[in-house]
Each structure stands twice: as C-alpha cells, then as structure tokens.
C-alpha cells in the first residue's frame, strides 16, 4: 500500500525535516503533516506544520481529521549528548507511547507505522556476536539510560505490531550515523583534533550515511515492508581504520579499566563521553544489513565511503563556517505561501515540486 497522507512526528528534529523534504518530491504523496513541539529548522515547501507536544489526544484528532494513512516516527533521541536524560526519556518512552496511542482505536485511519529505532537496541558487550541479526535480543540488560529508552520504545512498537495486525509496522534500527549535517556522538568525536580511544582496544564499528537513513525511511514509506530491519552501510571498520581514513590521529588516552571512574571528574571540566559510547569504544558493534537490502533497498555509501565523506567535510568546514545563512520559521510567511489566494501555486508550486527537485533515492 503506497502512502498518500503522511504524518511525520518530530518535524523539527534533523530526521523529521530531512524526511519531509524528501517526501515533498513524490507526487503520489498528497499530504505531509509534521508535528513537533518546536518550530522547524529547515525550509519546507508543502509540508504543513502543526505545533503540538506529545499529547496523544491532540495528535489523534489531527490523524483522524486529516485521514492520515501513514505515521512516520523519527523522534527517537539516540545520542545522550543531545539532550538531558530526563528530557530524552520523556521523548523516547512517553512520547512513543503517546504516538502509538494516537494510532490506535478501531476506527483509526492509520494503516502504516514506520519507526526509526537504533542499533543501540543491541548494546555492545564482550560476548556479542560479530553481526547482530534482527531477531537477536541483547544478551545483557541495558547499561545506559539511552539504551534503556531505545529498548523500551522498540518493545512498545513491537507490542503495537502484535496487537494491530492490520497496520504495517516497519522498524528501522539505524547504525551510528555520520554525515556533514547530522550531529551525533561519533561526528562530535571525529571532529576533535585527536580522537580519544581506549588503550589496547580497536573496536569494530559500522556506520551509515545520513542520506541513506533518509532514503531508508522514504523506502519504508513508499513500499509495504512489515518487520524489523537493521539499517547500516556495507562494511564494518576498525576504529583505527576509520581514524586513518579521516586523516586524524588516535590518542589512546582512556584507560582500559575504570574508564567510567576517570571520566566522572573530567565531565566537570566539560569533557564528556556519553555512557552509551563507553562499551562501544571497547567492544564495538556490527550488524547484518542484508534483510533490508533484500527488500530492494540500495545504499548510496559504504561505511568506508561514509567516513571519507565526513573527513572531506571536516576539512572544508573551517573554510565555509559562517558563510551559510540559517533558516528561521516565520509562521505568517509560511501560511501566506501555502494559503494566500495571491500566490500562484498551480504551475510554480506543484510542477516545481515534482520537476525541479529530483526525488531522493529510488
């Protein structure tokens, strides 16, 4: 079932905005509505923004009023650097619960639910397999708050899928994302002048390019692919290999034992390594990405190419810094452009959307 009327949650997050921009390029998508508690930070052409917090009753009303057939949930916070723990928990666990609640009800028009999850679901432990496949569960209970949130949210969606067989539920567990625009633990770590590593460890890590994540979400929106899928680029790199590709130096400054104890005082000085990275920097994580490829999805970049692209961006960044204008959401302007009878939308709008913007991806 192709999606025609789509609701994107977390429109003001990086992923929500990127996805909405991408979906605007598809003619078969009639309506894109984005909800979030804050205003969008990227320019959107025909996406409707509704400012609403994670209140399920309000979202439910929007879903019913607009006859939404597909909900794409991109809100999940998977990097603890980006948000305070309580805020992240509120967003990840309570927020997911509310969005799911808004899609339930026997007369709900929702027929498809796409959830962006994270490979943090699997954790990173000494006795892990080298490649996690989708049916595997994590062998140990979560160690950090973010991991606990991800597991809880992922399980809530699995539960929803069990109870609502008429809804196509797609869960995408995304590996560590790198790219010029996205802000993740790893992009921050790799932009340091020297990259801190744990002495005596060289973990295997798998990355995925930001554009591939957008395409993966888009692929799930445009096709009917129920199930859980890992989204990670081809190739698992050793951390040393990735640092070499970036043209940086590794600084094995973190002690192999008692790392957490050492980091506590450093945190006060402003040097912070997120909890969910501690084990990742020792044991790493690889996932099997074949299942999603088998649905017809093709990655644009391998892990290695992703890292090389990031390296190029990091070298160019000091040259470009400050030369790009930011986007500010102005409610009146956006409403004028969308609704005013004086704006000529017939040709300039609709055709422009379909022709100028090359649809991202497939």
């Amino acid at each position: 079932m192709p999606s025609r009327r789509i609701l994107v949650t977390g429109l003001s997050t990086y992923w929500g905005a990127r996805l909405a921009q991408a979906l605007e390029g598809f003619e078969q998508v009639e309506t894109i509505i984005g909800v979030d508690a804050t205003e969008p930070r990227r320019e959107l052409e025909r996406t409707e923004f509704v400012k609403v917090s994670n209140q399920h009753s309000l979202i439910q009303r929007i879903v019913r009023a607009a006859e939404i057939d597909t909900v794409i949930d991109t809100r999940l916070i998977v990097n603890s650097l980006g948000a305070a723990p309580r805020e992240a928990h509120e967003n990840n666990v309570i927020g997911t619960m509310n969005i799911l609640a808004a899609c339930t009800g026997s007369d709900s028009p929702v027929r498809k639910f796409v959830f962006k999850s994270s490979t943090n679901y699997y954790g990173s432990e000494q006795d892990d397999p080298a490649f996690f496949t989708e049916p595997m569960r994590r062998p140990h209970p979560p160690r950090s708050r973010i991991e606990r949130d991800v597991v809880e949210a992922d399980n809530a969606v699995a539960d929803f899928a069990d109870k609502r067989p008429e809804v196509t539920v797609t869960v995408l567990r995304c590996a560590n994302v790198l790219g010029p625009d996205v802000d993740t633990n790893f992009t921050r770590m790799f932009s340091l002048p020297v990259v801190p590593t744990v002495l005596g460890f060289d973990p295997r890590l798998q990355f995925v390019h930001e554009d591939d994540i957008v395409h993966a979400l888009e692929h799930a929106a445009l096709n009917s692919i129920p199930g859980v899928y890992n989204v990670a680029a081809d190739g698992v790199l050793a951390l040393s290999e990735a640092i070499g590709l970036l043209g940086k130096r590794a600084l094995p400054a973190l002690p192999p034992f008692g790392t957490a104890a050492l980091l506590a005082p450093l945190r006060r000085l402003g040097f912070r390594i997120p909890d969910e990275m501690l084990n990742l920097l020792r044991f790493g994580r690889g996932v099997d990405n074949r299942l999603y490829k088998a649905t017809g999805f093709d990655y644009g970049y391998t892990s290695r190419e992703t890292v090389i692209r990031l390296g190029e961006h990091l070298r160019l960044e000091p040259v470009r810094r400050g030369h790009e204008e930011g986007y500010h959401y102005e409610r009146e302007v956006e409403e004028f452009l969308r609704w005013s009878p004086h704006v000529r939308r017939g040709r300039a709008g609709d055709d422009g959307v379909a022709a100028d913007r090359e649809p991202l991806g497939i």
């Binding site: 397999p129 595997m136 460890f201 060289d202 295997r204 190739g235 649905t295 644009g300 391998t302 497939i362």
Partner: protein, 308 residues
C-alpha cells in the same frame, strides 16, 4: 554511485553481479533465503581489513616472522592428510587443544597456508574472554580470531563458506597438566556439531602432537589467578620466571599435524538434524574417539619428543 567493488582473495564467493544489479521491479517481494548469501557485502579493494577485523598486513607480518620461525625451525612441523581440508566450501576443523598459551591454532593455520594448494585462510574461534583484554582485544581479530559465538560460526561457515577452527575442549584442554597429556577432555555439549550441521559444512577432525610438550603446565596457582584476573595462572618451564613473555617460551618439541577424513554433515539429514540431540552427541563422540585414537597412534610411533 558506489564504485565497483571486488573481493579480497580470502572472500571465497564474491557477490555476483546479477544480485548487485537486480532489477527494481519486484521491490517489495522478499528474495528467497539462499539469495541472502549474494547480499553479503564484498570487501572494498582499498581496505586492509575485512569485516571481521582481520588484517592482511598484521597477519602477513606475523606469518613471515614469528609464525614462520616457529613452524619451520622451532617446531619443524610435519603435516599429514592435508588433502582432507576441503579446497572450497565451508568446513569446521575440530582439534585437540593444549599448552599454556596454545601454539596449536597458529600452527594449524600455517600448515593449511603452506601445504594446501589453495592456501585457504582459517578463522580461529577464541573465548570471549580475549575481547575484554587490552592488547589481545586488538591483536586477536587482526590475525583471524573470532569470538566463539554460534552466530559467528554459522555466518562464517554457511554465508561466507570459510574454514573455521574450533577446540571443543576449550579451557578444559589448555588447563590440563602435563601428566594428563594427550587425554582428550569432554567435547563440550556438541555445539560445534550442531553448528556444522546447520551450516551444511564438512567436519574435519585434526590431531596435533607436540603442543603438549612445547608448552607443558606443571601446576596452577589459584590465588595468583584470582589476583591477576587471568583465565589461569600456570607454572611452565618459563612462566612466570621470565615474566609475561615467558608465555611464549615454547620448548622445541617436534610438531606433527594430521588432518583426518572429513564427515559430510549433509548426509546426516540436512539442517533439521541439528535438533536431534542423540545424533549430535553420537557424531561428537565419534570425532572425539577418532582424534584420540590417532593421537595414540602418532605418540606410539614417535621415537623422540624433540626429533620425531
């Protein structure tokens, strides 16, 4: 567009071009399970490591120096039955295990590389323990070690069709004292047989003679083991007297390696047979008996521990 990729020499089955350029019209259809193998990512030619973390460079450097020295001059390894190592397809090699820091795995890998015409690389299953040890954790994957997880063994055997080495005795083998030499311990719970049957891989029993005398353990010191957090704290001719390097202080015993005739697990009744506990135990017992019998034979014919 991603650049065209070819596979490194040790990826035995490169992704076929057909699969890579599959037409996009049957998109939402699931491809059959067999085709999952075609979706395995190939290794980009620019890379020096494979997806398991194995490094040709580190492995090659070790192979040309330390391992070459031990294999050719120190242990003067003698190999029998190399034709029993399959030239292609997944196979699980099953060997006896011994020695304080066991030299047997490296010697088996070297023997295949040297004697077999195909010179196939061997993946060696090691305990998860190593992943937690700084230094070891970096080195072990680089030279072909993978954690002994059933999922890892299955992927290597079934999907990548590689050679994998297991020591079913595990720690029980390396912990045993010199007085118990060449007496096989219990073969785990037969998990290795299950893995091979599931992956439709051949089982190749291997006997190694010499490792017991090269790195004999005379005693274990329990409280030192607890103090250091090591797997065990053995007393050997050189350890702990020469410090940590004493672990590498092997005596120059003559090594004899014998690869026995493979067992074709496909003939046992396909992947479903892995659920048959009785069959699994029978096969495990049979392999153990064959290795034990051959060990006895080699030891009985050996005139000298040092000269063979």
């Amino acid at each position: 567009m991603p650049p065209e990729r070819t596979s490194l020499s040790h990826v035995s089955e490169p992704v076929s071009d057909e699969a890579a350029q599959a037409p996009a019209d049957h998109l939402p259809e699931r491809r059959p399970a067999e085709r999952m193998r075609d979706l395995l990512p190939a290794i980009e030619p620019e890379r020096r490591l494979d997806d398991w973390g194995r490094s040709e460079r580190v492995e090659g450097a070790m192979d040309r120096t330390l391992i070459e020295f031990f294999y050719r001059y120190w242990f003067r390894a003698e190999v029998e039955g190399i034709e029993n190592v399959p030239a292609e397809g997944g196979a699980l090699l099953v060997s006896n295990h011994s020695g304080a820091l066991p030299p047997d795995a490296a010697m088996i890998a070297k023997a295949i590389r040297e004697e077999q015409p195909a010179g196939r690389p061997l993946y060696i299953t090691v305990e998860h323990f190593f992943k937690g040890y700084p230094g070891f954790s970096m080195l072990i994957p680089k030279i072909g070690g993978v954690a002994a997880h059933p999922a890892n063994v299955h992927r290597l055997l079934y999907d990548e069709r590689q050679l994998v080495l297991v020591f079913p005795e595990g720690r029980k083998g390396t912990e045993k004292l010199y007085k118990d030499r060449y007496r096989l311990r219990r073969f785990g719970r037969g998990g290795f047989v299950e893995a091979a049957i599931r992956a439709e891989a051949k089982l190749v029993p291997v006997c190694v003679v010499g490792a017991e005398e090269a790195a004999p353990i005379f005693a274990h010191v329990g409280f030192m083991q607890r103090l250091t957090g090591l797997l065990y704290f053995p007393i050997t001719p050189t350890f702990p007297w020469l410090g940590p390097l004493g672990m590498l202080g092997y005596l120059p015993a003559k090594f004899k390696l014998r690869f026995l005739e493979p067992i074709d697990t496909v003939e046992l009744g396909g992947p479903a047979a892995a659920e048959d506990k009785a069959l699994v135990q029978t096969v495990a017992q049979e392999i153990r008996a064959r290795i034990q019998e051959n060990l006895h034979q080699i030891v009985a014919r050996r005139k000298s521990v040092w000269f063979g």
